[in-house]
């Protein structure tokens, strides 16, 4: 059972080469002991905090059927990626257990298979995003590359109404300190360039200089910015962040 997973980790298992208790020989692998563990670090507000972030609203509905993990795209690639387990930990308030997986929670690819399969409308995909967001807001993890990408993308949409994919990619690589000239990207550009007509190449080049934008976007930009700032303030308050 996943619920006992934290107890049977290798570091909690004890075997003894030679041990006799009350005249009974309990040496060797056949009498492995699980070290007793007292959980004292419950964060009783954990579920509320996740529920206060966008996407986490329905976490209380979960009845632990496991349909999310069973359908999960990322779980099939990495068995440690386990939405059901994390939802359980959050609802129990087992923060330190949750933190063991803090570096992979952001990897949810938003394929919506879990939301499709969930019989309780938990929207596990949303809970994953809320949890990843919570980890960053609380300072448990640095911003993931995915969050940096989302921020870069959103900033451009809010500023101009549209995005230009080349610009998003360039800024993302710059902010995450990755070289833009990666072997496989160069290879890709080469393959297209071979057949791409000059006119189209020129048009894409121009889009990089003259950013595509929605006309008369200023008021929408201001209204969105104001709303997002309000929401961020609310979220920080809910998470008791100064």
């Amino acid at each position: 059972m996943i619920h006992e997973k934290s107890l049977i980790r290798p570091e909690n298992l004890k075997t003894h080469d030679k041990l006799v208790i009350d005249g009974v020989d309990v040496s060797g692998h056949w009498s492995t002991f699980i070290q007793s563990r007292v959980v004292t670090d419950y964060n009783e507000r954990l579920e509320e905090e996740i529920a206060a972030l966008p996407g986490g609203e329905n976490i209380h509905r979960c009845w632990q059927c496991g349909s999310c993990t069973n359908s999960c795209t990322v779980n099939a690639v990495n068995p440690d990626f386990n939405p059901r387990f994390w939802i359980y930990l959050i609802r129990m308030g087992m923060e330190s257990e949750l933190l063991r997986d803090k570096d992979i929670i952001w990897q949810c690819v938003s394929c919506h298979k879990c939301t499709y399969a969930c019989p309780r409308d938990v929207v596990p995909e949303g809970v994953m995003k809320a949890t990843a967001h919570w980890l960053e807001l609380k300072g448990h993890t640095p911003k993931s590359k995915s969050m940096i990408f989302d921020e870069e993308f959103t900033a451009q949409v809010v500023a101009t109404g549209k995005i230009e994919d080349g610009r998003v990619i360039r800024n993302f690589f710059a902010r995450t300190g990755q070289p833009l000239l990666q072997d496989w990207l160069i290879e890709m550009v080469k393959r297209v360039a071979r057949r791409l007509p000059f006119k189209q190449g020129l048009k894409m080049g121009l889009a990089a200089v003259f950013r595509p934008r929605t006309r008369k976007w200023g008021k929408a930009r201001d209204a969105i910015t104001e709303y997002v700032q309000e929401q961020e303030a609310k979220q920080r308050k809910a998470l008791s962040i100064e």
């Binding site: 996407g55 969050m147 959103t154 809010v158 929605t214």
Partner: protein, 305 residues
């Protein structure tokens, strides 16, 4: 006459960039089939896969603005989006605005301040390019118009995530015979079969290509894409037909990355379904932007064009 004969067209950002060939082939195919497109005036980004992670209701607003312009400034009743991301987001906004007072409140607030009419749920019907061809033309008419049958071309139809999931935002799907299925979508299969293609039994039709993290978690995306490419090849496909610019460029990009980084080479080619249908109608591959694809489909399509 179908109400899809003339629709408001929402190409979205990707179709102005990496998905240029999809934009071009959609327009060329539409005009060859006598379907009219009126581009949504002064449109904005729908929020794609990213804005919802900053705030889902901002995404709802962005998508609602596109529908508001179509309905209130153009008098359109149908919006067609060829990109799965745009299509999904407009559908999601439609669903949220119909069912969630909190979403309505935020959309109304931002719309008022932005100075345009607030979109009201039900004003327009959002459809995908697949619905547009399937209902606007239909398989029988398509069959009659085919000049170069795609007979002998083995196709794996790849629909991706956003076209069918989560099912509650697509109330018109799963309605029995004639409707689209969210577990085994078939509209693209139907259209390509009408064009003469042989659809292979492809188990990963709605598998995820990792598009959301295509650059931020490339190793995962490469693994997911390799699964899809390998499954298509195992099913005997010559080409994978796509209907989303993000899926399409994801498959192309990670096919190259798998080859360069993991040394795993696959030969299957990716073409937009609009390019395949266009070739069947006798349009030239260049006109359909086939030469713009990273994955070079010119060779395999030569015998049909």
């Amino acid at each position: 006459m179908s109400k899809y004969q003339r629709v408001a067209y929402y190409p979205g950002c990707a179709l102005e960039g990496t998905g240029h060939a999809y934009n071009q082939s959609t327009k060329v195919l539409g005009s060859a089939l006598g379907l009219k497109l009126d581009e949504v005036k002064n449109w904005n980004c729908c929020g794609a896969m990213e804005v919802k992670n900053i705030d889902p209701k901002v995404q709802t607003y962005l998508s609602s603005r596109v529908m508001s312009i179509a309905a209130n400034e153009m008098g359109a009743s149908v919006v067609m989006a060829p990109c799965n991301g745009c299509y999904h987001n407009l559908k999601k906004a439609e669903h949220d605005l119909a069912h969630d007072a909190g979403s309505r409140e935020v959309v109304e607030r931002i719309s008022k301040k932005a100075g345009h009419a607030t979109y009201q749920a039900g004003q327009v019907e959002t459809i995908h390019a697949l619905d547009w061809i399937k209902d606007g033309v239909g398989e029988d008419e398509l069959k009659r118009r085919v000049k170069n049958s795609l007979k002998g071309l083995k196709v794996a139809n790849y629909y991706g995530c956003m076209y069918t999931r989560p099912r509650h935002i697509f109330p018109e799907k799963d309605q029995g015979p004639g409707s689209e299925s969210t577990s085994k979508p078939h509209f693209m299969d139907d259209l390509l079969a009408a064009a003469g293609a042989e659809n292979v039994d492809f188990p990963l039709k709605t598998a995820c290509c990792g598009g959301a993290h295509t650059l931020s978690d490339s190793d995962t995306s490469t693994k997911l894409v390799l699964n899809i490419l390998r499954a298509a090849e195992a099913a005997g496909a010559d080409v994978i037909a796509t209907e989303c610019p993000t899926c399409h460029s994801g498959l192309e990009m990670h096919q190259v990355r798998a080859e360069k980084v993991l040394g795993q080479k696959t030969r299957v080619k990716m073409l937009y379904f609009t390019q395949l249908l266009g070739i069947a109608l006798g349009l030239s591959p260049r006109k359909l932007g086939v030469h713009e694809n990273v994955s070079d489909g010119m060779e395999v399509m030569k015998k049909f064009a």
